[in-house]
């Protein structure tokens, strides 16, 4: 069972670090640490898991319906409903001298005010190593989810038609993912021309002839997210759109080629950005126009490491990543293109199989 494998890896890491206990926080946005430790995919409210060397994992939740759901979905876990997460969690830590906390970004102010004794230790870096280098059981789920991401893009391609509202396209894709058993999907969409600077949740915009329609689809199976990014044109792509897309295609290939054990996230970002700089588009790979050139995949849609030029995180075997040189092109607007992969030796395993082309969609109507 995957939870058993993860639990063993986590306890080993905590033992090596000398923690008496580990407090793990999670919510519906950043639920990866909590899910790794407890198996529970939180949807509402907040959760806290206690990991101790000699006891089963305890999960504390502050929403009654989530408590009920956790009892059904995580039968081996000791689940408690509390009105105050810390009151429940800290009460059980009597006698624990060294306490780790992950992720520190979610740790609430009360933790410091209520906890007597030594301050908790930031266990986020330790936990991040576990989240980044995947276990064989995790890789199997990621491969399954990648197939679903490809199928989802096929649904998107056919749903995006002239005259339809963007949220209707999203509705069709989400319904497909639910029918296939995806427990979540992180999805952004953009449509239009040079006025579009990025992607966002749907806004009700009606798709028009000539629009570039961008999306990143990120379905999850048993909590594991895999992403795919593609761009399509409403109608026949223009020459200038094809030329612009060619730059992104080359950047993606260069980025993937730079992914190898021992290289850094920075190397992967630079490999992509150099393609743009070589064509006088260097401004468009700065933070004014784009955020990251890819990122990790796993129990969070935007996992570590971020693929940016400043990230010196070493690429290791069995990491799952998406490489995506998504950014603004001044001639045509925002373009996205990205594929998920597993870092391997000797070569990477490209997970998403959808053709890397600028798709054209001639259909119209709802």
């Amino acid at each position: 069972m995957i939870i058993k494998a993860r639990s063993e890896a986590l306890r080993n890491a905590c033992g090596i670090a000398g923690y008496d206990a580990l407090i793990v926080f999670g919510n519906a946005w950043q639920g990866d640490y909590l899910r790794y430790a407890s198996g529970f995919g939180i949807v509402e409210g907040e959760g806290l898991a206690l990991v101790r060397p000699d006891r089963p994992v305890s999960l504390f939740l502050d929403q009654p319906f989530e408590f009920e759901r956790a009892q059904v979905e995580c039968p081996g876990i000791d689940v408690t409903l509390v009105t105050d997460l810390l009151e429940g969690g800290i009460a059980e830590l009597e006698g624990a001298a060294t306490i780790g906390v992950a992720p520190m970004s979610l740790a609430p102010h009360h933790l410091w005010r209520r906890r007597a004794g030594k301050d908790p230790v930031d266990a986020t870096p330790l936990f991040d190593r576990l989240l980044m280098a995947k276990l064989p059981e995790e890789l199997a789920l990621i491969r399954t989810c990648a197939r679903l991401a490809d199928e989802g893009y096929e649904v998107f391609r056919h749903a995006a038609r002239i005259g339809r509202a963007d949220y209707e396209v999203v509705a069709e894709v989400e319904a497909f993912f639910r029918a296939k058993g995806a427990d979540d999907n992180f999805m952004l969409i953009g449509s239009g021309g040079t006025e579009v600077r990025g992607m966002a949740p749907p806004s009700g915009r009606i798709l028009k002839s000539g629009d570039l329609v961008t999306t990143e689809l990120t379905p999850a199976i048993d909590g594991y997210y895999v992403q795919i990014c593609r761009t399509l044109v409403m109608g026949e792509p223009s020459g200038i759109q094809r030329t612009a897309f060619g730059i992104f295609s080359e950047a993606l290939e260069r980025g993937i080629a730079a992914v190898r054990p021992g290289s850094t996230a920075s190397d992967v970002a630079i490999a992509q950005n150099e393609v743009f700089r070589g064509r006088g588009l260097g401004d468009f790979v700065t933070t004014q126009y784009t955020r990251v050139r890819g990122h990790g995949l796993g129990l969070f849609t935007d996992s570590k490491p971020p693929i940016v030029e400043s990230s010196m995180t070493t690429i290791e075997p069995n990491m799952a990543l998406i490489v995506h040189p998504n950014t603004y092109h001044p001639d045509v607007g925002y373009i996205v293109l990205g594929d998920a992969l597993i870092v391997g030796t000797p070569g990477n395993e490209i997970l998403t199989k959808t053709a890397r082309e600028l798709f054209a969609n001639q259909g119209s109507g709802g």
Binding site: N27, W29, E44, H109, A179, G181, P201
Partner: protein, 350 residues
């Protein structure tokens, strides 16, 4: 982590509605001698900021600062690229982008010489922000969750209308459960498609596929078979306002009719103003009541379960979930309810 349609609809929530809400907050701030109120928001704690600005957090987190005068300021960790998107959904605020929320807000308030600063749900604020605020503000901030709660004890018309719209979407969604549904995936997919096409901002579906074996609602594999009695809950958000509907379905036609009658009776009961609802639950033959849960938007969560033993709290509306058995078969019903939770005599709260 799924967002559907996010757009500004002035006919559902206008700038005037928001300005009135901010004025109500300022009145409570004045009575508490506060010269600044800070609200934190993220994906799961969006409600205070959504109520005061209309903007629901999608990615990252943010802080809203309301002073006794001037436009409120929303500090967002999103980059400038998102500026026009946020501004389109948050028309009442100045918008500031910063990677360091605590520092930016402390600098802002110190420049304005604000010293009596209250923070909503201060203890839940991430330490990375709280520690910076407590170090950099001119005076230690105080807990001010009650200030916001007091400012919204009485719902305004826009809020009730939005709640009814969210509730209507959820109700329409669970009507779409196919009569020939065999698996959980058939149900969840149909409901989700309907509520998203209806323009919801977010939705989550939970199912109890075989109520006779286990009446708890959860997420199940898509290929899980449905039993003779099953229940579906749709939690649906419209413009930052969350409602839920749960319906129990039966293959047996006679039982299905009884469940429909029960649902109708509960709907009438939930539409009754709270003081009149202090009477017992409606009496229906063969129905037993086992428990209830009342959720209301009182804090930063979109809905929060109300402690029925806490006296003196007023709530404008909420969502009522009731459970029981009918002819020995378990049922669950969730409906929007007007007013505070009832003092139910013959069923205990969960």
């Amino acid at each position: 982590m799924r967002r559907g349609l996010m757009m500004w609809r002035n006919e559902e929530l206008s700038n005037v509605d928001l300005e009135r809400r901010i004025a109500r907050l300022r009145a409570v701030m004045a009575s508490e001698n506060l010269d600044a109120f800070i609200a934190y928001g993220n994906f799961v704690r969006p409600q205070v900021i959504a109520h005061l600005t209309g903007f629901t957090q999608f990615w990252g987190d943010g802080l809203l600062v309301v002073c006794p005068d001037g436009r409120p300021t929303y500090f967002s960790v999103l980059t400038n690229r998102s500026n026009s998107w946020i501004a389109g959904l948050n028309p009442v605020c100045e918008i500031v982008h910063t990677p360091n929320l605590g520092t930016a807000v402390a600098d802002h308030l110190n420049t304005l010489n604000r010293t009596a600063v209250g923070i909503g749900e201060y203890g839940s604020l991430p330490e990375r922000i709280a520690s910076v605020l407590s170090q950099k503000l001119k005076a230690p901030p105080v807990e001010a969750g009650h200030v916001f709660a007091k400012s919204r004890e009485t719902a305004d018309g826009a809020e009730i209308n939005l709640m009814r719209r969210a509730d209507g979407l959820a109700a329409a969604g669970i009507q779409q459960v196919p009569s020939n549904a065999k698996h959980v995936g058939d149900v969840v997919s149909a409901v989700e498609l309907a509520v998203r096409l209806g323009g919801c901002e977010d939705c989550h579906i939970a199912v109890a596929p075989n109520m006779i074996a286990d009446a708890r609602l959860a997420r199940h594999r898509a290929d899980t078979l449905l039993g003779d009695v099953f229940a579906v809950r749709a939690s649906v958000v419209r413009h930052g306002v969350l409602s839920r509907r749960t319906r129990t379905y039966a293959v047996d036609a006679k039982l299905a009719r009884k469940l429909s009658c029960l649902e109708a009776a509960i709907a009438t009961w939930c539409e009754t103003e709270a003081p009149d609802r202090r009477a017992a639950l409606p009496l229906i033959d063969d129905v037993e009541w086992h428990g209830w849960c009342f959720e209301t938007p009182s804090g930063s969560y979109q809905l929060q379960t109300v402690d029925p033993h806490r006296e003196g709290e007023r709530h404008p509306y909420g969502v009522m979930t009731l459970r029981g058995t009918i002819e020995g078969n378990p049922w669950i019903v969730t409906q929007m309810a007007v007013g505070s939770p009832p003092a139910v005599r013959d069923a205990s709260s969960e």
